[in-house]
Symmetry: C2
Subunit: 211 residues, 2 copies
């Protein structure tokens, strides 16, 4: 039941850019659907049109989400449809992460009303999802990508919606197939809103990893 | 910057059902966009059609996501567009949660390829997001809803995509504005894949809460 990397469709940069554009439009549609105030007849008519577009996209359907064609090493960002960072996934904000030469993973992102938990604030689970990904990338940047084994989050203050947030993480220690990492989300004033620590473990069968 | 509950649009059951249908169609479109294998010209043409539908929905735009018109007490499920449970939010699987008479919150759900982390498995951050919500509902079920203060996750085995998963949680202790809760996600064979414990704290200004 585990899909091996070689089974994954590979997209070149141009194909990926076209599908990223499609995902960006679906992301905008998602927000419009959550905030729309049109009447029920119009909402139902739009829903029918959406179903027709789904059928058009489904005329050719892949079995698995695609990977990038030219991975630069063992990196999670091969996953073009990752639910946090993937430009091809309408669920993802998305977050573009950079890895500095000293192994810090960093990305700026803004979360709109579709990610809301308490009114005007980011859902606590969404912050957890983002931090799992960013810490996981920091683990992968050591050359030992892994699956999350433990993740601990401390929410220091509410995380605001609609403003640029900064996520950062770094691996602190590698022990064989285990990598320890920590990171934060910070508000535009620089104050940390959520702190995380995690342990990632590379499964033995993934040693030539598909991440 | 905090939106007070009275500012939120309220939807009656019929309006909510129509918009839930729209969200379900956008959810299907999201999956189709991630898995489509149509050529670039067709993907770009569909993207243009999606943009036109976004414009139609945006003809009347609310400032905030809507709440249910008839809340049954202080409950997070008033949030029709919650990113985990909200039937009106295309990002949400969604998960319909029931609260038993002894305070257990429980819901079955299936996660498709848009929630993928490691190939064929649920993204660790998505499991974290789901558990934050389910434990938060268990906290709210005590009558003391709160914001996440700490969340600790232990990943015992990979969580499979495409099969029915069971999320369960229960509050263990209430101390003033603090509620401790724990819960799990289990695979169809009954084995727990992820365990979580959390502390939720009701902000003092939310004592007549908008959750």
């Amino acid at each position: 039941m585990n899909a091996m990397p070689d089974e994954r469709p590979r997209l070149d940069a141009e194909e990926a850019a076209t599908l990223a554009g499609l995902a960006a439009r679906v992301r905008e549609l998602t927000e419009a659907a959550v905030l729309t105030g049109v009447d029920a007849a119009e909402a139902a008519a739009v829903a029918d049109e959406v179903a027709a577009l789904t059928a058009r996209l489904g005329a050719e359907r892949r079995e698995f989400p695609p990977f990038a064609a030219s991975p630069d090493g063992v990196r999670m960002d091969r996953q073009l449809a990752n639910p946090v960072t993937g430009p091809l996934n309408p669920l993802a904000p998305p977050i573009e992460l950079e890895v500095t030469s000293d192994g810090i993973v960093r990305g700026e992102f803004t979360l709109g009303p579709v990610y809301e938990g308490p009114p005007s604030y980011v859902h606590g689970g969404v912050s957890a999802m983002v931090l799992d990904q960013v810490l996981g990338m920091a683990a992968a940047a050591t050359g030992t990508p892994g699956m999350t084994a433990t993740l601990e989050l401390r929410y220091r203050r509410p995380t605001p919606l609609g403003v640029p947030l900064l996520a950062e993480a770094k691996a602190s220690r590698v022990e064989g197939r285990k990598v320890f990492a920590s990171g934060t989300i910070a508000a535009p004033d620089g104050r940390v809103t959520v702190e995380a620590t995690a342990l990632f473990v590379m499964p033995q069968r993934f040693v030539t990893s598909q991440y």
